[in-house]
Amino acid sequence: MISLTDTPLRPGELLTRFCEDRSETGAVATFTGIARADSGEGTILELEAYPGFTEAEIGKIAETARGRFGLDDILILHRIGRITPGEAIVFVATAAKHRRAAFEACDFLMDYLKSRAPFWKKEHGPASARWIQPREEDHADVARWEKEKS
């Protein structure tokens, strides 16, 4: 399931629910991304999505992961709107028969979400605001998977 929400994410509850009623899954891996304040500055993130389009694009990434790693299930929840430091921005869970696939799929999904998902992110600092772009590291992280595939 893929969902965008403007209310706080509760990773513990999400994980509990995701693990319920699974008899054929041997491994669940999760990742929680948390908004970080750099050098103690009170930065607020504003995340904008294109409702419908953003979920569909994330869905394509999820389907690629499902096929590549042979997953049983995927959960991706992403915050939109204003997010304060300490709040979870994204929660990803993957379910697979064995742990390696679950771990790797989680890693793969986050790398693609960080650089390819259609979001626009604005950082509101104490003095000014700016729109931010994926960092070089984010592109390099995705390139890892492209290389492995070929």
Binding site: L47, Y50, V90, S115, A117, F119, W131, P134
Partner: protein
């Protein structure tokens, strides 16, 4: 009448997020119309990395747009 959506920095630049615009039969006509009333926005809509989606699908080049089309201008995305 097409519904036009702007995201990210384009929305900030224009000062609006969503508008209905009559009398634009193609992407290029729509851009020209918007540029006429806001020169800076007009330039930004054709800026580097700006993608266009019609009814939530990315399109390339100049295409005709229907009367109830949803046209979104997507500046370079930041990722999640």
């Amino acid at each position: 009448m097409a519904r036009v959506l702007l995201f990210g920095p384009l929305r900030d630049l224009a000062g609006w997020r969503e508008r209905d615009i009559a009398e634009a039969a193609s992407i290029s006509a729509l851009k020209a119309l918007l540029a006429e009333e806001d020169e800076r926005l007009g330039e930004a809509l054709s800026g580097p990395g700006v993608k266009v989606a019609v009814d939530q699908a990315i399109v390339n080049g100049d295409i005709a747009i229907g009367p109830r089309a949803e046209v979104a201008f997507l500046p370079p995305m930041s990722g999640g």
